[in-house]
């Protein structure tokens, strides 16, 4: 007989499992919106965004040049199917609120209700050093712990950073991901809006995470946030981002650019819990450099979206730099998670690891796409790549595209890959211990992703497990 705790847990799960539409997929009326650009992309739209934000001339020039790159590049024909994206059927800039507030009470009522439902202010009180909340194209709320501010930590939205810390922004802007890096980075560079700017001075350790939450509300919306994190020598910071959107029958586009500079002996961890609704194309470029003895870690969890193409990268540019990528992807019906990671060893005695876990069910498709490169001169470097895929039924699909280039004879590189199905024997064994088939499968899946969830702060690990249980619901029998 089930214990009262188990019954409560099951009830709670049933509540969460009511479905995505109820918990995250709702949308607010657009009354009171300050500005909504007409659909489509043009020089006029790009100029109007820049003008609306009252940007310096160099940024306007940067945007217009990026637009030319975007227009001149073909849409990628590898990875997922991008042919269905209609770039003319997207709103590229939507301003929901006239101002970015530091006082929760000043945030417009509808938006406040949304973030209340998503638990953002509660999370800030409990376990975060700072919070940013982006709604449509711009950040509507930002707050950072006063003690950190006194230590010189900057955590603000990118638009404000450009106004208040222009020199610092300009010094690092697009040095990690230039606008011509790829078509989607060019698009972001042309129409970027919002995102986070984080600056951690030398030696400062930010003990609790900084979090940004991204929310799309409008139909046919494009969200193009731009994030830049600069960790000075010997500093330490953990940044977390989460994202959701309403369920619509038409598609939206999320195309972010994230640049990170981890200076000597610093440590940066960047955690993503991506849970976009299944009408969102999620096409993101994320790249970091780790200088001498720095550590850079990407923890990348992809649960939502129609198609995700995202391969966080780390360039180990200084001796003894270290990089880690932990990637988890869950592809259900109608989803394609094309994820992975890239690590480039460009200096001696650098080390890295990539651990990728993917789960496919109900005809979903997971792809691991990765690059490990040990460049000439990166002597005594070590790396380990592990890709595990779990298929829950016959209709689902898993692909692995690993690329490994080794330029030094003394590199120590390992690659392991497994593809498995939930075994009848495993399920039978757990059923013999009193679990039903669904509980047994959930337990096996949770065990499969445990190497990733144990790296998350507890609150996020619990949430991730629950989201996966939600996705698992109804997958048995």
């Amino acid at each position: 007989m089930a214990t009262p705790e188990a019954v409560a847990e099951k009830k709670e799960l049933a509540g969460i499992n009511a479905d995505y539409k109820e918990k995250f997929g709702f949308h607010d009326p657009e009354t009171g919106y300050a500005y909504k650009a007409p659909k489509g992309l043009s020089r006029e739209v790009v100029e109007s965004i820049s003008e609306y934000k009252d940007e310096p001339q160099w940024m306007r020039d940067f945007r217009l040049k990026a637009l030319e790159h975007f227009e001149s590049r073909p849409t990628p024909n590898w990875g997922g199917n991008l042919g269905q994206i209609d770039f003319d059927d997207i709103h590229y800039f939507v301003r929901a609120s006239e101002k970015n507030s530091r006082d929760w009470d000043e945030v417009p009522e509808d938006i406040k209700n949304t973030f209340d439902r998503l638990g953002i202010p509660e999370a800030e009180r409990k376990f975060l050093s700072g919070v940013g909340a982006q709604y449509e194209s711009e950040v509507v709320y930002h707050q950072v712990n006063e003690k950190l501010e006194a230590q010189g930590v900057i955590f603000t939205d990118m638009d404000t950073a450009l106004r208040e810390h222009e020199d610092l922004v300009r010094e690092h802007w697009a040095t990690i991901i230039p606008p011509n890096d790829n078509k989607l980075a060019a698009l972001n560079s042309a129409v970027w809006s919002g995102g986070s700017f984080v600056y951690v001075p030398a030696g400062v350790k930010v003990e609790m995470p900084l979090q940004a939450y991204f929310r799309i509300n409008t139909e046919n919306m494009g969200q193009f946030e731009r994030t830049l994190i600069i960790a000075e020598e010997g500093s330490d910071v953990h940044y977390i981002e989460g994202c959701t959107a309403p369920v619509y029958s038409t598609d939206s586009l999320h195309s972010a650019v994230v640049e990170i500079v981890a200076k000597p002996s610093s440590r940066v961890r960047y955690t993503t819990v991506q849970n976009w609704s299944q009408n969102v194309y999620n096409l993101v470029t994320k790249r970091a450099v780790a200088q001498e003895k720095a550590t850079m870690e990407w923890v990348d969890c992809n649960l939502g979206s129609k198609l995700t193409m995202k391969y966080p990268s780390i360039y180990l540019l200084g001796p003894e730099a270290h990089g880690e990528i932990l990637s988890i992807a869950f592809a259900g019906e109608g989803q394609h998670q094309d994820a992975g990671g890239k690590i480039i060893h460009a200096a001696p005695r650098t080390s890295s690891s990539i651990f990728s876990k993917s789960i496919s069910k109900d005809g979903g498709r997971s792809t691991y796409r990765g690059l490990l490169e040990v460049a000439d001169g990166a002597t005594e470097s070590r790396s380990k790549v592990v890709c595990d895929a779990l298929l829950l039924d016959e209709d689902s699909r898993s692909d692995t595209y690993p690329t490994i280039r080794i330029g030094e004879n003394d590199a120590d590189v390992g690659h392991e890959a497994t593809v498995s199905k939930i075994g009848d024997e495993q399920v039978f064994y757990l059923q013999s211990h009193g679990l039903d088939e669904e509980e047994a499968s959930k337990m096996i899946v949770n065990g499969f992703i445990e190497p990733v969830t144990k790296e998350l702060p507890m609150e996020y690990a619990v949430e991730l497990n629950r989201l996966i249980e939600l996705q698992m619901e109804g997958s048995i029998g």
Binding site: T175, I177, N180, A375
Partner: protein
């Protein structure tokens, strides 16, 4: 900018406000033709047309990713109105 060839190797020669610099015409990231990229004489840089890495013409070093390795540079001299390059 002038593109010259020596022994099968293409070299771009750039005039940065009177100072001459020569680099190999091949991006260290993806072999892009650097000499076809946007040249900025004021900052003495050229941008790879393929993925946008910006190269410092005075040193051959990339100032932005995705390239991280320098490209070869060649010493220049002007003798009797003729530009000469010192090639290995």
């Amino acid at each position: 900018m002038r593109l010259v060839e020596h022994d099968g190797e293409k070299i771009g020669v750039f005039n940065c406000d009177g100072r001459l610099y020569a680099i190999e015409d091949r991006c260290s990231h993806d072999d892009g033709p650097l000499a076809e990229g946007e040249f900025d004489a004021a900052t003495c840089t050229v941008e790879c047309p393929r993925h946008g890495s910006l190269f410092d013409l005075t040193s051959g070093r990339p100032k932005t990713l995705p390239a991280y390795a320098p490209v070869r540079t060649f010493a220049t001299a002007v003798v009797d109105d003729t530009i000469t390059l010192e090639v290995d």
